[in-house]
């Protein structure tokens, strides 16, 4: 299950996968992280991508049992925070777009480019992880981020 390794000859014999998605020892990191999410999503695949159904038909039926993961988001200088459902986003790009819209600013994260002359127009996005450390958003794969993040903070440059 999950992504195959780069050498095609290393795929196990098909019968191995017949029943249990946890049987394989060749699971890669991505699948581990997905299964380790504290909010459990039954099959180990990113929800919207499998089974192959158009969003409307899939989501309609799941308004009551869809998984959510709300985290607090604070912007420096503003005492009242917001809440954001991380599982409503598919990637960092998606999340950054929502935050830029929510807080009306340009966000710096691991993959952002900044106009260095106008740094006052930018804010840096960090998150508090399970160990209580504040880290820059975007360095680790999205799924790993989801399993580690506890809250978000947007600070001035």
């Amino acid at each position: 299950m999950g992504r195959p390794t780069s050498s095609s000859s290393s795929i196990d014999s098909p019968n191995h996968f017949a029943f249990s998605s946890t049987a394989s020892s060749q699971r890669d990191l991505t699948t581990d992280l997905r299964l380790g999410l504290s909010i459990s999503i039954a099959p180990p695949f990113v929800r919207e991508q499998w089974p192959p159904m158009k969003a409307a038909v899939a989501e309609e039926e799941h308004e009551c049992n869809s998984s959510t993961f709300y985290v607090k988001v604070y912007m420096e200088g503003i005492p009242i925070g917001r809440k954001l459902d991380l599982l409503a986003h598919e990637s960092y790009y998606d999340l950054i777009r929502t935050l830029e819209h929510m807080f009306h600013t340009n966000i710096i994260w691991a993959e952002a480019e900044m106009d260095r002359d106008h740094y006052e127009k930018y804010h840096v996005l960090t998150y508090e992880d399970k160990e209580g450390d504040w880290m820059m958003v975007g360095d680790v794969p999205w799924e790993m981020f989801l399993s580690a993040v506890r809250r978000l903070k947007i600070s001035k440059c």
Partner: protein
């Protein structure tokens, strides 16, 4: 002497003959007979179809066909429907509208699928084409109700506005009031995708009342049940109708009103909508059921007994879309009641649940295949399958043209024998000689691809996920499927070898999508260098592919033939491989 005969007809005669030829394939064939036929044909082609908006540039189309009235464009690859194509990938229609606005003031019809349509594009359409008649946006996004308001206000001759499966920024329902009071030409309106809670019912009612030629009306979820009667009362001529929310407190007066109004709709052939449906109100549609040919219940969360009752009233049904609540028992009733059934789609009600919540298995599909002699198109989601069932299906229904099976848990084996489902799908391609579209699922080895390459000679589109063992699988398909146009693959162990060995084949196809496979960046570069008429796009949100070793697999790969060269509207996470440096950033 014989050569001269081809030129002995005046152009007008040939043009008249060509006017009876409507299909693109035939038109394309006609244009290749000789230079003079090419010339005559291009001047009289009225409908242009572009299957991949990046395969050709707007200017090239306009140069070749100076007088078309109708254009159909498709943008993103099919897997975009399942969120596999990141936002911002492309498929912008604006450049096309901009070019056509100048060249074709008399353009009448625009049909788009999976494209990004902005309000600016809609405003430009409204402003530029005085005789604009048809706008069909299928699975498009990027626009709001403001753009729709512009269309409503300016397009005095608009006949069709169809927004099926679009993502619309629903700013206000008042866009409907922008249709002037003098406007009466609407024939078809599909707003089922709109979400706004405050719907402008009075504007809608007035619109329906004055458009006496209205044949198709698909409402959105926001329209409550008690409003439907008012709307239908003024449109008894409707042929296709989609309800809004089909639930309300059970009141006899509301019910009889509704039933009465449905009985007066003598032309109704197609029904859809039925969000939040409660069984008590379903019998209201019984008066029209005997004439129904198409029924879309994919949002109707009612259970098997109610579905069975409904379906038993529809002996002339040709097309049914339904949730798996229908269960095997319901499909058996369908098989015995609906002998004209041609297309069936069964969607999962609980796709993410670990355990089945309904009793829908391969038996339902077998029953329908055995009982419905005209069945040719199927999309079926289920949780178990067997080779035996697939062989029975194939043997009893060799007239399948579209067969899409999705066994919900990837790599699920034959539940009876625990073997792969190679033999079952092999039977499908062997017996169904006219199969044009196939989607595979379940546990599959390279063997199934060998069958497909050997037998599926008319196959045009193949969708593969979590299947195969090695490059041999991909090689069988690319070397054997003569009619293949679209191939989409995800999470399969296919790498460089088959792709590079069959590079030439890719130029005979519209496109190839491969994601989460094992194709290396080096192979992508090589392909881009060697095949100038292919656009080889690497899509990778992890960052530039050359920041990793060359033999690292790319995340997503989209290859399509193009005479327009590489595109320049790519987002930062898409790279086109070309001849020059092997890497080009937009």
């Amino acid at each position: 002497m014989l050569k001269k005969m081809a030129f002995s007809f005046p152009d007008e005669v040939l043009e008249h003959v060509f006017s009876f030829i409507q299909s693109d394939k035939d038109r394309n064939a006609v244009s290749m007979v000789c230079k003079s036929w090419y010339e005559i044909e291009r001047w009289c082609r009225r409908k242009v179809f572009v299957g991949n908006c990046y395969a050709v540039s707007p200017r090239m189309v306009i140069r070749r066909f100076p007088e078309f009235r109708s254009i159909e464009l498709k943008g993103k690859p099919h897997f975009a429907d399942f969120n596999l194509v990141p936002d911002g990938w492309g498929g912008y229609v604006f450049p096309w509208i901009a070019e056509m606005a100048g060249a074709y003031p008399w353009l009448e019809e625009i049909r788009l699928k999976r494209m990004v349509v902005t309000d600016e594009s809609l405003e430009l359409i409204a402003k530029s084409f005085k005789n604009f008649k048809v706008l069909v946006l299928s699975s498009c996004e990027g626009f709001s109700t403001d753009g729709l308001a512009a269309i409503a206000a300016s397009c005095k001759n608009l006949k069709e506005l169809d927004l099926r499966d679009c993502e619309v920024d629903d700013l206000s329902a008042h866009w409907l009031s922008h249709f002037p009071e003098t406007y009466t030409s609407l024939v078809s309106l599909n707003i089922s995708c709109l979400g706004s809670d405050e719907a402008s019912f009075s504007a809608l009612e007035r619109l329906v009342r004055r458009c006496t030629n209205l044949k198709t009306l698909r409402l959105n979820r926001a329209v409550p049940l008690d409003k439907i009667a008012n709307i239908l009362r003024h449109a008894p001529q409707l042929v296709e109708f989609g309800t809004g929310t089909y639930t309300a407190d059970v009141r006899p007066d509301v019910y009889s009103d509704l039933a009465g109004v449905f009985s007066s709709c003598k032309e109704l052939k197609s029904l859809s909508g039925f969000w939040d449906v409660i069984p008590d109100y379903l019998p209201a549609i019984y008066p029209v059921c005997s004439k129904l040919t198409s029924l879309n219940l994919s949002y109707a969360t009612i259970q098997s007994p109610d579905l069975i009752k409904l379906v038993s009233h529809c002996p002339n049904l040709q097309r049914l879309l339904v949730l798996d609540y229908i269960e095997d028992s319901g499909l058996e009733v369908l098989a015995s009641s609906c002998k004209d059934l041609q297309e069936l789609r069964v969607f999962p009600s609980d796709p993410f649940g670990a355990e089945p919540n309904v009793s829908l298995t391969e038996q339902g599909l077998v029953a329908v295949s055995l009982g419905c002699p005209k069945l040719q198109s199927v999309l079926y989601f289920c949780r178990r399958m067997s080779n035996e069932a697939l062989v029975t299906i194939a043997r009893s229904r060799p007239n399948f043209t579209r067969f899409r099976l999705c066994i919900i848990e990837p790599k699920t084996a034959d539940y009876l024998t625990l073997e792969p489902l190679d033999v079952g799908f092999g039977a499908i391609v062997q017996y169904c000689k006219d199969l044009r579209r196939l989607s595979l699922s379940g546990l599959l080895t390279d063997r199934v691809f060998e069958y497909i390459g050997t037998y599926a000679k008319k196959l045009e589109m193949l969708s593969v996920a979590f299947a195969g063992d090695s490059d041999l699988g991909l090689h069988h398909v690319l070397s054997g499927c003569e009619s293949l146009r679209k191939l989409e693959i995800r999470d399969c162990p296919f790498g460089d070898k088959a792709l590079l060995a069959n590079a030439a084949k890719l130029e005979t196809m519209r496109s190839l999508w491969m994601s989460s496979c094992a194709v290396s960046f080096a192979a992508c570069k090589l392909l881009g260098q060697k095949m100038p008429r292919l656009n080889v796009e690497v899509i990778d949100e992890r960052g530039p592919p050359d920041s990793r070793p060359e033999n690292c697999p790319v995340d997503k790969l989209y290859i399509y033939r193009s005479i327009a060269g590489p595109r320049f509207d790519m987002p930062p996470f898409v790279w086109t491989m070309d001849e020059d440096s092997g890497l080009r950033l937009s």
